[in-house]
């Protein structure tokens, strides 16, 4: 039942034999051993499994791996370049925008995709853009601040 699926994963062309019906979440976690993408609910409600597909934040628990054929998938492991944190990751560290850290990869991927579409968001727009990513520790205030900081850095081209 396995098929060959080709797609770009964290910037690298990937060709793999895999059950095409497997969810992208479990394919990433178990097959590719990229465990930064978390299982939080498996129903698309929490956002802990958010990855970028062609720069769009998508809940990886809600689609089959076959659906990313020919597309580009970026997970939290693929954000930093040459050991340098992505501005969104850096801002999360600077603002201590996390506690347990379990929702953090999904928050960071969602924020990254959101800032690509809206590089200069207002606080209200950040809240709306992040609304469906859940955090139980209550890091929300700092996450908003981190997204603002990242937005400035991304625009500054640093």
């Amino acid at each position: 039942m396995e098929e060959t699926i080709k797609f770009q994963l964290n910037g690298k062309q990937t060709e793999t034999q895999i059950d095409p019906a497997q969810t992208l979440l479990w394919a990433l976690r178990n097959h590719f051993e990229l465990t930064g993408t978390k299982f939080g609910c498996g129903m698309g409600f929490c956002g802990a499994c958010t990855v970028l597909i062609d720069n769009e934040p998508v809940r990886s628990c809600q689609l089959a791996v076959a659906e990313v054929a020919g597309k580009s998938v970026v997970t939290v492991e693929g954000l930093a370049t040459n050991g340098k944190l992505h501005p969104v990751q850096k801002a999360f560290v600077e603002h201590d925008a996390l506690q347990c850290g379990f929702c953090t990869p999904g928050m960071i991927m969602n924020a990254t995709g959101f800032l690509m579409k809206n590089p200069s968001p207002s606080v209200q727009q950040i809240k709306e853009g992040m609304e469906n990513n859940l955090c139980r520790c209550g890091a929300h205030m700092r996450i908003i601040e981190a997204v603002q900081t990242a937005s400035k850095e991304l625009k500054g081209g640093k």
Partner: protein, 717 residues
Amino acid sequence: MKEEKIIDQNISQTSEAHGMPRRDFFKILGGGIFIFVRPWKVLDFIGLPAEQARGVPKDYNAFLRIAEDGTVTCYTGKIEMGQGIITSLPQMMADELNVSLERIKIVMGDTDICPWDQGTWGSLSTRVFGQIMRTASAEARGVLLDLASKQLGVPVSQLEVRDGIVIDTKDSKKTISYAQLAQGKKIEKFLDVKPSMEDYTKFKSMGKSYNRSDSAIKVTGEAKYTGDMKLPGMVFARILRPPSHAAKMTSVDYSAAEKIAGTKVIREGDLVAVINEDRDKADEAIVKIKAEYSFNEVAVNDKTIYDFMLKADSNAIAIRSTGDIDAGQKLCDKTFESEFHDPYLAHSAIETHTALAQFENGKMTVWASTQSPFGLRENIMRELSLPADKVRVITPFVGGGFGGKGEFQQGIEAAKLAKLAGKPVMLMWTREEEFVYDTFHPAGVIKIRSGIDKAGIIQLWDYNVYYSGTRGADAIYDIPNTKFTHYTQKSGAPPVHQFGTGAWRAPNNNTNTFAREVQIDIMAAAAGTDPLEFRRKNLKDKHILDCLNAVAEKFGYVAGKSPSGRGIGIACGADAGAWVAHMAEVKVDKSTGKVMIVRIACAQDMGLCVNPEGATIQMEGCITMGLGYALAEEVLFEGGKILTHSLDVYNIPRFSWLPKIDTVILDRKDQPPQGGGEPAIIAIGAVVANAIFDATGARMYRLPMTPERVLEALKKI
């Protein structure tokens, strides 16, 4: 290697009763200087109330090691679940040992190499364990100074330590490092009494803000949680669950499940599970199992539970009383009777209960998301009839606990399944399992009868709490005539709680503080007194008064009789040795009943604040999480079934709910450190309820304050 043993007194040679013999972990850890502490004695010394010391073993159970490279390692049975002790415990050690933070490592929650610990809860890590580690660190410094004194030929009084280097104050060329002192040695020191700890005026690290030390690996996906572990041959398990807690399986047919590729069904009694190398396939297979159950219909539901509690045959336990409430009644000009209801709440950590178990060569190793690695180990020992040295629990990063992971059913299940399957088993509860098998914050009823005299002084306080626990039930106000009664489950009577209940961040205190502070507000309004002034008039506790004054200043509070229409509320309380006061401003949409929180300020007296940044994060987290129980969270159930079993129907706080948050931590460097992970959540229900009253005149007696309930309360004005 030179072996020395410096033994103080009353030595119990090992912590073998609790697990690995010490000789084994020395084999693993190598040489250096080891300091063991018996917390019992330290607790006596630091004067902790007996109830906090209860459960702490009398064995030596904290230790640190100074390795031959000069690094200092703290071995602790505590775990990191977001609360930040991974950063603050090393800060506490750094100051006692006079070393920089970079030299300190921390090993957490591994039952083979960490000393026994009761569990990470109750805001005890800093105020109890932290004090123990400070003691051990101070002792280690003493040992090192003794060694340095001998080697340098200089009296200890003439030595000082700068970042791990011992220096002769009279000849700065004479130095020796901790690394040099620890080399080629194995020194064990058992400590029963408290040596002098560093004076707070000399702190270099404690009291300063540090960012989280684990954030760099948490933003890259590198940080490992239990579910991220992988072992060769590992399979994912899904367990067959009954339709309700009370259901008993009468028949089961798993032939269809076994047809799913790669699936195996394993069973031991009522424990039926599917295993598959592919988690999606395990998910597919589990729903193919057909099972029938018998169960008695449970009549009570989320609406009738309060009445059920009040009518149930209970034990009435007198907690304490002062004066005479009948005499108090006679002094009252006005009396007030209120009944408050608080529902069951779920913990809803984003990481579900997860465990990976491996049974190899007769030894069970379980990686688990748990707040209690030693509790889990003891339970696995019992359930699987294994001795202590054949069970190891390892705790990777925990993705949120809030009390819910003090329970560890998943760890026992994974261990059983791994033994049955003969291969490593990963068990990651689904969100639905998380909601159903959670140990909920208990629902409860609180009835208060209170009264004030003509001068607005509280003369009467008759406080009755039903089934939801007494933490935070203290009056905190100075009331001459009080009576506190706790109604609890009577043995032999039908169980009042229909599900497992347990600790939920600041257990019981959210319920008690809600009821007390709303009742205080009711009396302030009836007295025609500003609610801040009313509190000041009726309480003498300096800690709380200081918090009230500090929050009023931060908030920019202007006195006014409630309801003022401004939507400003006040509440205060005490938890985990700390004191808090909150103020909130809300807007209420009177047509929809929807409450919007504009801003919340909180002042906290937590004694010495080890890491103000970390403590501030905890306060913000408490305030944000508290909005959930104040406004929306409630476990709904009917006929024994949990109805709120997904995150679209059980509403936890989201970004759009977020008010402006301001926090103040009072400067109390001269005081012992207290809890910081829970206090700031206790008053959120009350402060919001009191603000709703101030905005509208509607009094809220029921949590959560949903739009429907606010509309209902508005109709009663």
